[in-house]
Subunit: 384 residues, 2 copies
């Protein structure tokens, strides 16, 4: 299933209830999810609006209090219709349940748990982009090295059919999205603002393209502005939706470290691209590798192998003809021979430290291999 129209099988009332609930508390809000799971969306919305919930759910009152009286559901759903967005709820067939499960687990739920619903825009479904996917993240103030590697790696992943997930930001994120799009592949931007917002504004055109060919996801209702705490909250979704996270470039302090921490917390393989130790924008990635928190990832193949170690054979290393295949004695005889001119067998024996019969034997096989020539009375190297 794909398309920009809302394909949820929910009734209008149900959808309105979900839209209200998706806005009434700042995500993440585990108590609200618990309420919806107990009562269903319609009853949960009523209870929150009336400030009257079952006693075991009273924790939901505080985080919903500030917005309970403001029902923007109709307006938000109209906005979605207008811009071709949809609301994917926990009841939706396309809800990425397996991927987001880790966020609802006890340990991480303390930090808020998973999203209640996801606003989505773009032709791809969640199922199409989460199966084989990698998040490429990193500094907004990326170096040209970081931009280049991010774009190349994203292109390699996209060509292999993998989806590239990132945060739509300047720098590494943008280069990753662009690399995937340029390769004609799948990319997903997870925003820290409303689905109708172009943030950052300089990425309006990029986000339009992702909306037309990829997928934009956010747990923030239309109109929500980007804010620092929302970036941190958004990062957990990037980590959870992807099968693994690669930090391409990160300085000593970087938001990417937060996404990396989320990956580790919820058990997603974490990779990092190394960089020059003289580069400020690689201090973070080098440090993650040095600490053992991340695996060093040099290219798209290594990135895929991080997530699917058995599914991706590494290419055989390029081999060139060399003296590694020679026996120790053959090699010592070769090394004893000068670049120009020839030597007698006795001279070779002395220089190489191999006795005469060993030298003769080695010279015989080296001659057969076309590496030495004894036809001039002395032995010499064959050029070329």
């Amino acid at each position: 299933m794909s398309g920009t129209t809302n394909e949820s099988k929910l009734s209008d009332d149900e959808l309105r209830a979900w839209a209200y609930l998706a806005t009434v508390a700042e995500p993440p809000c585990a108590p609200l999810i618990a309420l919806v799971e107990d009562l269903g969306a319609i009853e949960a919305a009523k209870a929150v609006r009336k400030r009257s919930v079952p006693s075991q759910h009273r924790k939901v009152l505080v985080p919903t209090e500030a917005r309970a009286a403001y029902d923007t559901a109709d307006m938000d759903l109209e906005t979605c219709d207008r811009i071709g967005a949809r609301l994917i709820t926990r009841d939706d067939a396309d809800w990425p349940e397996w991927q987001l499960l880790a966020l609802d687990q006890a340990e991480t739920a303390l930090r808020g748990g998973g999203p209640l619903a996801l606003w989505a825009r773009g032709p791809l479904t969640c199922a199409e982009v989460t199966d084989s996917s990698l998040a490429l993240v990193g500094s907004r103030a990326a170096s040209s090295y970081g931009d280049y590697v991010s774009g190349q790696m994203a292109g390699g992943l996209a060509e292999a059919g993998w989806a590239v997930i990132s945060g739509g930001a300047y720098g590494i994120d943008g280069a990753a999205h662009r690399g995937a799009l340029a390769a004609g592949g799948k990319t997903v931007a997870v925003l820290a603002c409303g689905i109708d917002r172009d943030y950052p504004t300089g990425h309006a055109q990029l986000l339009r393209e992702i909306g037309q060919r990829g997928l934009i996801l956010t747990e923030y209702a239309p109109g929500t502005t980007a804010a620092k705490h929302r970036f941190l909250t958004r990062n957990r979704l990037v980590a959870a939706l992807a099968s693994g996270v690669i930090v391409v470039e990160a300085g000593r302090r970087s938001g990417a470290a937060n996404t990396a921490a989320w990956a580790t917390r919820i058990g997603r393989p974490l990779g990092a691209v190394p960089g020059a130790v003289t580069s400020a924008t690689s201090v973070g990635t080098n440090s993650m590798i040095a600490d053992g928190a991340a695996t060093l990832i040099a290219d798209a193949d290594a990135a895929m192998a991080l997530v699917a170690p058995d599914g991706h054979d590494t290419k055989p290393a390029a081999r060139r003809r060399n003296t590694d295949d020679l026996s120790d004695e053959q090699r010592r005889v070769i090394e004893a021979l000068p670049a120009r001119g020839g030597l007698t067998v006795d001279e070779i024996a002395f220089i190489s430290g191999i006795r005469v019969d060993g030298v003769l034997k080695a010279l015989g096989s080296l001659e057969l291999a076309g590496l030495v020539d004894g036809s001039a009375g002395t032995w010499q190297l064959v050029r070329g």
Copy 2:
């Protein structure tokens, strides 16, 4: 003890015997070492010269056959006297027995074992340079990045009193030696040729300086030319003499990989400096880190900590004032406030999703911290 003259307490005959033995077989030659250990140097030299050894030592005959009749001991010792070199034997007080022990162990002895003796030049003793020492090795065709990092790291090690051991080659080796010398520190060049040779010739001046201020070591007798198999043999000494090995830069195929393999084989900690994944001269180091063979090393401190993890506290990371110390609610209130202008408490409550009393509480502590100002009737951020 230090000085360029021969300070061995051996008799002249003993020294001559050692010098003969040190030349009669191409190192490494474990059977010859076993013979010397059984018979002593003088009797061992006689036995080899006469081609008559105890039956359990008959393995020594083949590797000594080619050179047995050529006794260059007097000539070699005269050369040493002339250039201020000395022969350090296994009987010498300065023999680095502990460091070289690993090379005589069963597993590695199969590959030849340790050296029989070491030709040495320079004011430093082995004891002075092996206690706290690191080998910095890498490509001859180093990039300017590799040269820079090698020099910086060597300088840092030298300043901390550590000896920098390397192979005297172009590229990384040379930069490491120079970095240590420039910092007024200790450096050791382990050669793959005779102690009287300047190899590579372009490093004649550098080797002279090391000979005057550091230490040059080799198991090859005066006059021996450098050859490929000798570089490989020499590499095991670099690894053994150092407390750890750092590969600064290495391409896909590099001699440094051989030194790295030796480090692993004999249990020396192995580090590697990462580099751009777009750099051909960092393919080898990045790959060692990715495979888990080497630890990522970004600077001299990390290099020392690799060898002495408890002896070197990492410097506390630079801290700057930021919003990380704020509570979740405080941060959300801060983020709700616009860069210019102010908001009412109700507006902040809606935008942040925190109810009014929570907003007021957060604003109170933020005002005390000097981060927000409510004196104008609305709440706004404090600049600066």
